[in-house]
């Protein structure tokens, strides 16, 4: 696991559901075929209404048309990130697009489990609201040992909630690696 993650942030509002993260019509692509699975990156966050995509201004696509990867490896969301369907294609699509960390006020249960157990992205919780304190495009640094996010544009520091119980699974890589390391499975 990387100890420090740096990059540009993409800011979203509350209640980003899995239909907005990856619209259902795209769920037909193979997740294991390396070429076909790139389509998930291409359509990541493609159903977020454009005026709310990349706050505070909006109008910014997470992945530019005809691209497969984003220039924003860090997503700052609000409350209830990842609500809606159970599709693991959602954190998978974000990972394919190049998302490394999400920082949100809170998560829907299944999205949170999928992000961790599948080893796709790191779901940090902010302490209070953060999506009104950073702008899309700001460069930030997240220190995973100290649980701190620094906005390199403003030099402001924000504490994040420690990952707690799930840290061993994130460190192992995913639920299966964790289960092997703890001799739960062979």
């Amino acid at each position: 696991m990387e100890k420090v993650i740096q990059g540009k942030v993409f800011v979203l509002e509350n209640n980003i559901d899995t239909d907005q993260i990856i619209p259902a019509e795209h769920l037909v692509y193979s997740l294991s075929d390396p070429e076909e699975s790139k389509m998930y990156g291409r359509f990541a966050l493609s159903s977020v209404p454009i005026e709310k995509s990349g706050l505070p201004t909006g109008g910014i696509k997470y992945v530019e048309s005809d691209n497969f990867e984003t220039e924003f490896p860090i997503i700052i969301g609000g409350a209830n990130f990842g609500c809606g369907s159970s599709r693991e294609h959602a954190p998978f699509a974000l990972q394919k697009a190049g998302t490394k960390v999400i920082v949100a006020e809170s998560y829907a249960r299944i999205f949170f489990r999928n992000a961790v157990d599948g080893g796709f992205v790191i779901p940090y919780e902010s302490i209070g609201k953060l999506n009104d304190k950073v702008n899309t495009g700001d460069s930030v640094t997240i220190d995973l040992e100290k649980n701190i996010l620094v906005n390199n544009s403003t030099k402001q520091e924000y504490n994040l909630k420690p990952l707690g119980d799930i840290l061993p699974i994130i460190e192992a890589g995913n639920l299966f690696e964790y289960a092997r390391q703890t001799n739960m499975i062979a």
Partner: protein
């Protein structure tokens, strides 16, 4: 020590005498359900992680219902069904309900009930967020992603955090203009889409226990819309009658202790509630039907695990009998059993099928269809800037196929009344 029904079932599954909210425990899974969207990637992960020695932990406990993208020419969607078929053949999975055969069922959550997989006191996981529907049978049921499902497929075990429980009590029987859909939308309006995140939603009271099993399933189905881990209704004689008709599996009845601890208790007087809708673009954006009446519609939709059960069509038919629809209206039975029942069940001596046909509705084949948009050729899919009223469970941007369209969620009574007038209409005008 006192426990809720959810805590008791989880304790039994974990082999413990007592559990409490916040505890992470390992559960023994009674049934794992998957479908065509999440089945193939689940199988891929299972093969990748368990290697050549990959074994299904218990073939009798795995159930596969292709249901999401069935009647489409989309090649990748059809490939997903073919992958399920190959898997079922290779590993001898008897509980596979193949497309194009007599066994094909349709939407998994109703199919689980009809085929006798919902058994009181058991633990069921599924690769679909609406797996919580099965909680209507006094059991623990919840949705998981592909990795968790692949872990269960190989081990029969999964970790879960014991949820706090919230109780929702409906006093008194429902008046004839209300349905379970109005109750759960009312709750969503009150507690919002993250009001029950990581919690159990327990439904109680005369209003709930006077409902049929399929109406109860509408309540538990939408627990996930409040972020709930599970929805649950204790089994009673109505549950037992339904279960005994469908399976000879033994079952265990659990109820909450009177002194069990709850996160919160909400009490509603059923007689004081009104028909409600969830307005665009969230299931918690709830208002009375009266507050939006007159809103012009381009499409009406009765279908899905939430609103495509026989009781939903009986309600819609009651209003549509002798009327014609003004707006294109889609009738999408959740299961093939419901499709057959439309020909047999009657209102005033006329079959539901005939009522819908005479009203000018389009009757589609059983599947998830346009509830979640689906491939471009999916029947009933929202196009461009449509205004849809639907008995389904989600109206997030783009959910029914077009992020420019507006979707209102409502009971089958309200959708049927609105179909006749072409504008959002309170069902009391027709009752």
């Amino acid at each position: 020590m006192k426990m809720t029904i959810t805590e008791k079932i989880l304790a039994k599954s974990a082999g413990k005498t007592f559990v409490e909210p916040g505890q992470n425990i390992w559960l023994t899974v009674d049934v794992l359900m998957t479908h065509d969207v999440c089945g193939p990637p689940t199988i891929d992960i299972w093969k990748r992680e368990f290697g050549n020695a990959a074994k299904v932990w218990d073939k009798n406990k795995l159930v596969i219902f292709p249901d999401h993208y069935i009647f489409t020419k989309n090649p990748q969607a059809n490939r997903n069904v073919a992958l399920l078929r190959e898997f079922a053949n290779e590993y001898g999975i008897d509980n596979y309900y193949d497309v194009g055969t007599e066994r094909y069922k349709g939407v998994c959550h109703l199919a689980l009930a009809e085929e006798g997989y919902n058994v009181p006191g058991t633990v069921l996981f599924g690769t679909d967020s609406h797996t919580c529907t099965s909680g209507a049978f006094g059991m623990f049921a919840t949705g998981v992603g592909n990795s968790d499902a692949a872990f269960i497929l190989g081990t029969g075990k999964i970790w879960e955090k014991v949820p706090e429980s919230m109780k929702f009590i409906f006093d008194g029987q429902l008046p004839n203009y209300l349905m379970a859909k109005d109750l759960i939308l009312q709750i969503l309006g009150d507690i919002t889409t993250d009001g029950a995140t990581y919690r159990a939603m327990e439904f109680d009271g005369e209003g709930v226990f006077s409902l049929s099993m399929t109406e109860r399933m509408t309540l538990t189905n939408m627990a996930i819309e409040a972020g709930g881990m599970n929805g649950i209704i204790a089994a009673d004689e109505i549950t037992e009658a339904y279960v005994k008709e469908r399976t000879d599996k033994s079952y265990e009845l659990f109820t909450s202790d009177a002194e069990a601890k709850y996160h919160s208790v909400r009490r509603y007087d059923s007689s004081k509630l009104e028909p409600v809708v969830a307005k665009p673009h969230s299931p918690d954006n709830v208002g009375t039907v009266r507050s939006v009446s007159g809103k012009k519609l381009t499409k009406c939709y009765v279908g899905s695990c939430t609103g495509g059960k026989l009781s939903d069509f009986q309600a819609a038919a009651k209003i549509l009998l002798g009327n014609e629809v003004k707006t294109p209206t889609f009738i999408v039975p959740a299961s093939t059993e419901v499709t057959r029942a439309l020909e047999v069940e009657t209102v005033s001596g006329i079959s539901l099928k005939e009522i819908f046909e005479k009203a000018g509705c389009t009757i589609a084949q059983s599947s998830c269809a346009a509830c979640l948009g689906g491939p471009a050729d999916t029947i009933g899919r929202a196009q461009d800037q449509e205004v849809v009223i639907s008995t389904t469970n989600r109206n997030f941007p783009g959910r029914m196929g077009s992020k420019k369209s507006e979707v209102y969620l409502a009971s089958p009574l309200t959708v049927a009344a609105s179909a006749i007038t072409g504008v959002i209409t309170d069902p009391r005008e027709f009752l």
